[in-house]
């Protein structure tokens, strides 16, 4: 069974009445299916125009739920999105980026979802729509645990909203894996730094993925960065204590101890990269 609604209302009705499985890019749905038969109907939401595309508004940027990673990577966006666009280019492969969607990445709620750290740093909000209405949740609340979200069965994620407060900040994304391309990260880091006229950091956001059930911001580090000059060497501000929110585990990719160690290095490098970008621009 396969449902391909042409409008959001139609899709929401179908979802509420059939218990269908939502299908968009298919890059998580089909691998999870393996060679078992599909028992629930698919509700294909890729024919809904209102779910696609990126809109820049004065107070926010709206990214439609089924916007693909390729579209994000190619989009003309302010520098605060550099981390997200870099992450887009690291999702799987070009083939995956051409199909995989931003909302799918969030709904799959993998600890290693490439899109999550940059969107956490952007303090993105997730818009959920059902027949009974719309609501928005901060991303950090939307993903409530290991592969778990707050999406109700009758809801479709329709968009991701990014407030404009930090979108002109410098941002960087680093992904560490055991190979180039098609790799699940061992650690990844998104960092954003905003500076005042004097070149001092007046806002910082850092998020780390693959080191806890859900990617985490590092608030103590963010606080410690504020007031420092945004200059090379900023990475040395990072201490092991700043990584306290992380709880890395051992798996086939790496040991937990290594993850903690590498996360500290990667966070420092991501901060340096933000500063480097800024320095390059000044020059």
């Amino acid at each position: 069974m396969y449902l391909r609604p042409r409008s959001l209302d139609e899709a929401l009705d179908a979802l509420a009445t059939t218990g269908a499985q939502i299908l968009a890019g298919g890059t998580d749905v089909f691998p999870a299916l393996g060679d078992r038969p599909q028992t629930r109907p698919f509700l294909d939401i890729t024919a809904l125009p209102e779910l696609r595309g990126i809109g820049l508004e004065p107070d926010h940027v709206r990214i439609g739920a089924t916007t693909t990673w390729t579209e994000i990577a190619r989009a003309d966006l302010p520098s605060g999105f550099d981390a997200l666009r870099a992450a887009a280019r690291e999702v799987g492969s070009l083939q995956i980026q051409n199909r995989g969607t931003i909302a799918g990445n969030l709904c799959n709620a993998s600890p290693a979802a490439d899109g999550v750290p940059p969107l956490l740093a952007l303090e993105a909000e997730v818009e959920l729509t059902s027949r009974t209405g719309r609501r928005r949740l901060p991303l950090r609340e939307f993903i409530s645990g290991y592969r778990r979200t707050e999406r109700r069965e009758d809801e479709i994620v329709t968009a991701v909203f990014v407030p404009r407060a930090m979108t002109d900040a410098r941002s960087a994304f680093l992904k560490l894996g055991a190979r180039r391309y098609l790799v699940i990260s061992i650690v990844m880091v998104a960092a954003m730094l905003r500076t005042d006229e004097a070149g001092r950091i007046d806002a910082a956001r850092v998020a780390v993925g693959s080191c806890s059930a859900v990617a985490q911001r590092l608030p103590a580090l963010e606080a410690a960065l504020v007031g420092r000059p945004a200059a090379p060497g900023i990475g040395s501000a990072v201490t092991a204590a700043h990584l306290a929110p992380l709880s890395p585990i051992d798996d086939v990719r790496a040991t937990g101890a290594y993850r903690a160690d590498a996360a500290q290095t990667l966070v420092a490098r991501a901060l340096e990269a933000c500063v480097h970008e800024r320095a390059k621009e000044a020059a």
Binding site: E10, F30, F42, N98, R180
Partner: protein
């Protein structure tokens, strides 16, 4: 509300626009596009390697963008322009040039990834005809290749703008050494080659296996009749009691121990207990978890230590201590030699399971033809398959016909049976064709792996840099069944010295059974693992003596007049010294560059250079392994070459033809290939042990010479005569005489040819005595690799910058194909060194099990040394396995050179390298 739902198009059938044509397909719109393209539209050029977006083999263009068609529901792309490999040339002007460039560069080996590579590259080239290398890497990074090492693919894509001249094939006598394009290449770049899953009769039933979820388990079946009644369209359930012959097979008959279906308990996770056979639609709708079987997990040996512990459960009751076999080679008095050596180093080394990760999962179909069975499947060993299928069916080997398909990568694992016994038994019992295609998890879970090894070794040298002794002990985890465990246990002691003169030597091995996936043959049969230990220890010796590491190897390189560790004196064709010498200028350049980089670097990046040597015997170890080649002159003047050496991508179809052509003195263009088929081609043995160019090639040379002699006899001409092949005739010129023999009127022999040359070659070896002394191989290949790496010391990541590979191949029959083997072997060696390890029960997929992607492979500079073998055809030696062996130790030695840390447990993943760096820092601190 409900009628609004009804407008959401839930219907059967889907309209697709594929390769410019819109067709209505009676498939579910929910079906994977890959499946619809292959099963409903017959477009089997789109390959399925993983069904999970991890390999990119199924890439197609949707509106010009590459996507994995296994991740797209057919209904999602209605109205979009879908282009498959079959439609590339018509839709994209650059595609034909790209296919041409792939052929020219040897960018397709087995060809299973080729359609996906072409699609991914066309997506790039259609936007950007002159891309940078980085853009090429980004474009093909999502398509995995296990054969080529990517570099020839990258070169082909970068070279696409250059218009090529059409290939001119060499005339008679000019084939050896020519870089001719692979003779089966065109169908590979067109996506037209038929692999295991690409063909089956339309009415074929589908078979799936029910497999153990535990390492070791007892099991009982529930009500199978009720299961059948519940599932219309399921035709039969087959279990151990239904096996018509012996429920036992194995690649080495005296050790055969593997049941088709487990009888009382399963011995590894993934072992089959039953097969379900049914109509395709019913099988597609079947959830295997519905099958009535209950499992009782039993205590399992999951490590070598557990298997060797007192009181460990026996994997096989007749193998005490869980020891399958031991291997032994002893020469001189190693204990005395090491006791008096100036310098002795020692170490323990460990390697894990390594998965072959060919992009083609095992597949095929079988059908019963009267009292015979035909099995068409991917395989490396048709005659061995024939004998084992006969055994499980309880029929004569001659009643079995094995038709190998194109093989989408083998590397050793497709020597063992996979789908064959299941489909053969089902087709035999049901008298209907039956097909089976392994899923990727099934392939990884159940097929053989490289043996995990645990090695202890000591090496000693004099102060002036002479090796005096090497003492080696290795346990190899052979898993639940024998497979090639005895071969590994016996091959390793012969090779563990490396290609050096070692007067005092002891190498002992054991193959140890565990309740894990069987370990079998994988490119090198255990020698790569041994080499990781030996080459690192020799580096340490050089360091302790204070001698340059390459100089140490040069000083100890085996000479043709020195005995090997089995006491064999090769006499000629020992090119190891030449290989090391060829590396000297590269070594000096690379060492200087690394030193300059490190001197100028304050940061976390350190560069290093490592070298390692290799030798490897071609063919079976002290056992017969004959090949037979038949070549026939047809009445139309064309030449039929019955070439039974299965081409798994390495190029035997091409190389064997080149050899036969020059032996016969006929142009390549005159040849018609009859490829492996046990009804049509004599036994050319298995594609394994780097034996096809050497052994089958020698048979092809002899057969070609025999046919030439027959032609000369017919013409009454002497040995010095020239033979020219024409349509319907051969022309023989002898001195001033010229005789034209019209072929059309001549009688034909039992094979249907006017004249036939048929020859068998079995390499001359002798049995090894109790100390492993004797002549295990007639020919060895030699080689040495140099790896340049940069290590990120803060993260423990290692990037290989370049591999320089010198190989003594005796004679390079086709240098392009030789380079292809070297680059592909180096890629697998890089994977072994840095990223590949399979943990049974975890990560049975290609995103947890990592093989190198295009972005991981550095340039490979191949240096071909030709120190001719007196035995091989035109002097040729094997190269398939040789190419992989020195890469990993060269990389590990380079890591040490860069950082001062020794990685004795591979793969050298970032966490292991970083841990070693931290440990070294705290030890110093």
């Amino acid at each position: 509300m409900l009628d609004r739902v009804a407008t959401t198009e839930s219907r059967a059938g889907v309209a697709l626009t594929v390769n410019g044509r819109t067709v209505e397909v009676p498939a579910s719109p929910a079906a994977r596009l890959s499946k619809v393209l292959r099963d409903d539209l017959g477009l089997t050029g789109t390959k399925v390697g993983c069904d999970a977006g991890d390999c990119g083999a199924c890439s197609v263009l949707v509106d010009g963008e590459a996507v994995c068609s296994c991740l797209v529901a057919a209904g999602q792309v209605e109205g979009r322009q879908i282009t498959t490999v079959e439609g590339l040339p018509a839709g994209h002007p650059v595609a034909a040039r790209l296919q041409e460039a792939f052929l020219r560069h040897g960018a397709a080996q087995c060809g299973i990834c080729t359609p996906g590579m072409l699609v991914a590259a066309v997506a790039l080239l259609s936007r950007n005809e002159r891309p940078s290398e980085t853009e090429v890497l980004d474009a093909i990074g999502g398509v995995l290749c296990r054969c080529t090492g990517y570099r020839k693919i990258i070169a082909a894509i970068l070279d696409v703008a250059n218009e090529a001249q059409p290939e001119v094939l060499p005339e008679g006598g000019g084939a050896i050494g020519a870089r001719i394009r692979r003779l089966d290449g065109l169908k590979k770049v067109r996506g037209a080659d038929i692999f295991g899953a690409d063909e089956a009769p339309a009415d074929a039933l589908v078979l799936k296996a029910v497999r153990s979820p535990y390492h070791r388990a007892a099991f009982t079946f529930g009500d199978i009749d009720a299961f059948l009644a519940r599932h219309p369209g399921i035709v039969r359930v087959i279990t151990a009691k239904d096996v018509p012959g012996e429920n036992c097979y194995g690649v080495i008959p005296p050790f055969a121990d593997q049941p088709v279906f487990a009888e009382k308990e399963t011995r590894f996770r993934g072992e089959a207990v039953a097969a379900i056979v049914g109509e395709a639609a019913a099988m597609a709708a079947l959830d295997l978890s519905d099958f009535p079987v209950s499992w009782q997990e039993l205590p399992a040996n999951t490590t070598i230590d557990a298997a060797l512990a007192d009181g460990a459960p026996l994997v096989h009751a007749n193998r005490p201590g869980n020891i399958l076999v031991g291997g032994r080679v002893v020469r001189g008095d190693v204990d005395a030699a090491l006791a008096t050596a100036d310098v002795v180093v020692e170490g323990e080394f460990e390697t894990g399971f390594v998965e072959h990760a060919y992009i083609e999962p095992e597949a095929g179909f079988a059908r019963r033809v009267g009292d015979r069975i035909e099995v068409q499947a991917c395989t490396q060993a048709p005659y061995m398959d024939r004998d084992d299928v006969a055994r499980v069916l309880g029929i004569a080997p001659e009643a079995v016909r094995i038709i190998p398909t194109a093989v989408g990568g083998g590397f050793g694992s497709k020597l063992d049976l996979s789908v064959q016994p299941f489909i053969a038994i089902a087709a035999w019992l049901l008298d209907r064709p039956v097909r089976m295609t392994y899923t990727r998890p099934e392939s990884i879970m159940t097929t053989t792996k490289r043996h995990p090894a645990r090695i202890r070794a000591r090496a000693g040298a004099t102060r002036d840099g002479r090796l005096v002794g090497f003492d080696f002990f290795g346990d190899f985890n052979t898993g639940a069944y024998s497979s090639w465990g005895p071969t590994v246990a016996n091959r390793v002691p012969v090779h563990a010295s490396g290609p050096y003169y070692v007067p005092h030597y002891r190498a002992l091995t054991r193959a140890v059974h565990t309740h894990l996936v069987p370990a079998g043959a994988f490119r090198g049969f255990g020698v790569p693992q041994a080499s990781i230990a030996q080459e690192q220890l020799y580096d340490e010796l050089a360091d302790r003596i204070g001698m340059d590491r390459l100089e140490f190897r040069l000083r100890n390189a085996l000479r043709a007049d020195q005995p090997t560790v089995t006491g064999q004196v090769l006499g000629e064709g020992v090119g190891i010294r030449a290989c090391f010498e060829a590396l000297v200028p590269h070594w000096q350049r690379a060492r200087a560059e690394a030193a300059a980089f490190n001197a100028g670097s304050q940061g976390h990046l350190r560069r290093g250079v490592g070298v390692a040597g290799m030798w490897y015997g071609c063919g079976n170890t002290s056992l017969p392994n004959p090949s037979t080649i038949r070549v026939g002159l047809k009445r139309d003047g064309r030449i039929a070459l019955h070439q039974g050496a299965v081409d798994i991508g390495q190029g035997s179809n091409t190389v064997i033809t080149q050899i036969c052509a020059d032996a016969l003195g006929a142009p390549i263009a005159r040849f018609d290939l009859v490829s492996a088929d046990t009804d049509l081609t004599p036994d050319a043995g298995k594609t394994s042990a780097s034996r096809q160019t050497f052994v089958t090639g020698k048979a092809a040379e002899l057969a070609g010479r025999e046919l030439r002699a027959a032609i000369l006899r017919l013409a009454n001409a002497g040995e010095g005569a020239t033979v020219t092949f024409a349509d319907g005739a051969v022309v023989v010129r002898d001195g001033g005489h010229e005789r034209t023999i019209a072929l059309a009127d001549l009688p034909t022999d039992e094979h249907g040819y006017v004249l036939t040359g048929e020859a068998t070659f079995d390499p001359p070896t002798s049995p090894l005595d109790a100390d492993g002394q004797g002549i295990p191989y007639a020919v060895y290949g030699f080689g040495a690799h140099m790896a340049e790496v940069v290590v990120d010391t803060e993260l423990g990541t290692v990037k290989v910058l370049k591999i320089t590979a010198a190989h003594d191949v005796g004679r390079a029959i086709n240098p392009t194909l030789v380079e292809g083997q070297i680059e592909g072997g180096a890629a697998q060696g890089l994977g072994l060194a840095l990223m590949e390890e399979f943990f049974p029960g975890k990560g049975e997929n290609l995103h947890d099990y990592l093989i190198p992607s295009a972005g991981d492979m550095p340039p490979v500079e191949s240096i071909l040394v030709e120190d001719a073998s007196p035995v091989g055809p035109f002097g040729a030696k094997g190269i398939g396995e040789q190419a992989l062996i020195p890469t990993a130790p060269a990389i590990l030695n380079a890591i040490h050179d860069a950082t001062g840390v020794r990685i004795r447990r591979v793969p050298a993943t970032p966490d292991r390298v970083r841990a070693a760096l931290l440990a070294a820092t705290s030890a110093r601190g």
